[in-house]
């Protein structure tokens, strides 16, 4: 223990003797460790942000469409099979146990007149569950109710963009608008949602009861899609399984035949996005790791110079009874200390830089404990690896020649 303390003391002394040089040597490690942590923090930050964006779409979301039908061996493509009706929606709701919310979607589009303006937008017929599925809050007024849906009432909720276009200076709630010449009463305005991942304006929409849109605007008996929310994100695959079974029964698909409907989930998109950002993080991290390696070579360089410069000192130490091992550990301790100190400074630097990035730029960063540990132990390992050769060189010196060295 005493030996160890002396060793550390001696190493610190020798590092402090050449302050400037020690600092420059450590600089490689400081920058390396700092860069690794900052780069990975930026990568993690980006991935976190993308994950959050996707989560706001609803990761527990499943979308059901009718699928391809076959007629005499000829496939007619997606949507050609018999569509879903409101009755199907009710039946799914009744039989499935893994669902939290379910809503049909009836799509229509057309000219809307109101408040002295007109605007072309899409009209989505849904039921009350829809706002939970999309986690879409109402900004003003209220959403329509079950009774509105059952009664096919002509009420609607405006998206933020539509409200702005039709009623730029007044409150739209309570106003009457005409959708394709059918009068509707505005009972609410949705909160602004912004652009979707694909760049579409999600607020350019009018929501109305599905029944109203289907029977009074669009006509026909089939809905376009069914939106379903699983009871939780981790139950999404179970929900998908159950839905498949239920739908096959409802639609009377014979065992062995292909499904005539399709179920898509957002988890696939999440996975794709997060694997992209993982690659990004890995890329940034490995570029930074190269600088750490270069820093290590800097340490080796300086330690080699140091060994040559201190040949005489090594000779003295050997002549008064130092063993090879003692010289080896002394030089190794020095290089490990150099890189460890560099590593600690690098970590502090990384915190400072990420703080500045957070404060003054739009980049978001996430520093994880494990990356700090990895970067630090990598720095220490670099110290051992690149310190070993010079240290061995020092330990193997012949004491007589070392003493004679000028």
């Amino acid at each position: 223990m005493l030996q160890f303390r002396n060793l550390i003391k001696a190493s610190i002394k020798s590092i402090l003797k050449n302050r400037m040089r020690s600092l420059l040597t450590s600089l490689g490690i400081i920058i390396g460790v700092g860069a690794v942590i900052v780069m990975v923090a930026i990568g993690e930050g980006a991935s976190e942000r993308i994950k959050n964006n996707i989560a706001s779409l609803g990761t527990d979301l499943l979308m059901i469409r009718s699928g391809a039908s076959r007629f005499g061996g000829v496939s007619r493509g997606v949507g050609s099979a018999v569509g879903f009706t409101f009755k199907d929606v009710d039946e799914i709701k009744e039989r499935a146990t893994t669902l939290k919310a379910i809503s049909p979607l009836v799509r229509s589009a057309g000219q809307v007149i109101g408040g002295g303006n007109n605007w072309n937008t899409s009209i989505e017929g849904v039921n009350t569950d829809y706002q939970y599925i999309k986690s879409w809050e109402i900004g003003a007024g209220e959403f329509f109710t079950e009774r509105d849906v059952r009664g096919r009432r002509k009420v609607c909720v405006l998206g933020h963009t539509v409200a702005k276009e039709l009623f730029p200076n007044s409150n739209p709630i309570g106003e009457r608008i005409r959708i394709r010449n059918t009068p509707f009463q505005v009972i609410g305005v949705l909160k602004e949602k912004g652009q979707s991942g694909m760049g579409q304006d999600q607020d350019d929409v009018i929501l109305a009861p599905a029944t109203t849109v289907l029977y009074r605007l669009k006509g026909g008996i089939y809905v376009d899609m069914i939106f379903v929310s699983a009871i939780s994100t981790d139950k999404i695959y179970e929900a998908e399984q159950e839905l498949t079974t239920v739908l096959r029964e409802i639609r009377d698909v014979k065992p062995g035949d292909d499904d005539d409907f399709s179920i898509r989930n957002q988890a696939e998109i999440t996975e794709m996005a997060s694997s992209t950002t993982e690659v990004l993080t890995l890329l940034l991290g490995s570029i930074a790791a190269v600088s750490l390696l270069v820093g290590g070579i800097g340490i080796m360089n300086i330690m080699l110079v140091s060994v040559t410069e201190r040949t005489r000192e090594i000779g003295i130490r050997l002549s008064i009874g130092a063993r090879e091992r003692d010289i080896l550990t002394q030089f190794l301790t020095e290089s490990v200390l150099l890189s460890a100190i560099g590593g600690i400074i690098g970590i502090l630097l990384a915190f400072l830089i990420t703080y500045l990035l957070q404060t003054f730029t739009t980049l978001s960063t996430v520093i994880k404990l494990d990356i700090i540990l990895i970067a630090f132990s990598f720095a220490a390992a670099v110290g051992i690896f690149f310190g070993f050769y010079p240290a061995r060189k020092a330990a193997k010196l012949n004491p007589i020649e070392a003493l004679r060295y000028e």
Binding site: R317, L318, I320, G321, A322, R323, I400
Partner: protein, 248 residues
């Protein structure tokens, strides 16, 4: 009485390419406790090679070497280091102190490598050793703040601190002027009076009267080995020099 040093037909041959250089050609030497031996010889006589062998810095080509009763030839590398640490105190021509390190820390250095921890309080031992060479009050000075004579005294203190069986001095006065040389020799004489065995290598005949025994080497063998009859005390000579200087 046990001999401190005993060598039997010690030889050392160096090879420079194909040419064999016989630096030592059969040395039989024994040194007993309390001796103050001066090994004389011109350069190339093999005295430095002998010194390296005696100091366990190098191994002989053939022959046996017993140091304080231990057959050194049979030892491994680490044991060599331990022998150097426990049994030998070195004094070099160039002082060989660690730069930018205080006198005290320089003296403490051998104890740093002593794994047996024989000496309980290294710092106190170092202070005591410095006191024996009358440098206790300068223990915080670094080598570049000390004169040549003082640096050599620090080196002697470092050689003393681990209580060695013998002090080996390789041209200890080589870098010093004549007055300082006598000063350093007076330190050796004092230590020798206290019972410490000293072997020094020198090519300065002026120093012969201060030794107890002289060994003359030439061409790798011992040519002459005699006891000094008219011994001089370095301390008295120093006092004489001082008075002479005052008269001038």
């Amino acid at each position: 009485m046990n001999k401190i040093i005993e060598t039997k037909q010690l030889t050392k041959t160096f090879y420079l390419g194909d040419i064999a250089v016989h630096a030592l050609r059969g040395i039989d030497l024994s040194v007993e406790p309390g001796e103050l031996v001066a090994i004389m010889g011109s350069s190339g006589s093999g005295k430095s090679t002998l010194m390296n062998l005696l100091g366990c810095l190098d191994q002989p080509t053939s022959g046996d070497y017993f140091l304080d009763g231990i057959n050194v030839n049979s030892l491994k590398k680490d044991e060599y280091a331990e022998i150097r640490n426990h049994k030998i105190g070195f004094v070099f021509q160039g002082f060989n102190l660690l730069p930018r390190t205080s006198a005290l820390e320089n003296v403490e250095l051998p104890l740093f490598y002593d794994r047996t921890l024989r000496i309980k309080n290294p710092k106190q031992a170092a202070i005591d050793a410095l006191a024996r060479v009358s440098l206790a009050e300068r223990m915080d000075h670094e080598p570049n703040q000390l004169s040549g004579g003082e640096q050599q005294r620090v080196a002697i203190a470092r050689a003393l601190v681990n209580q060695p069986a013998i002090i080996l001095a390789d041209e200890p006065t080589g870098n010093l002027d004549s007055r300082t040389s006598v000063d350093v020799i007076s330190v050796f004489q004092e230590l020798n009076d206290q019972g410490i065995t000293i072997v020094m290598v020198t090519h300065e005949p002026d120093l012969i009267p201060y030794a107890k025994r002289v060994i003359e080497m030439r061409d790798g063998i011992i040519r002459n080995d005699y006891l000094v009859e008219k011994r001089r005390r370095a301390k008295e000579d120093l006092a004489e020099m001082a008075t002479l200087q005052e008269e001038v």
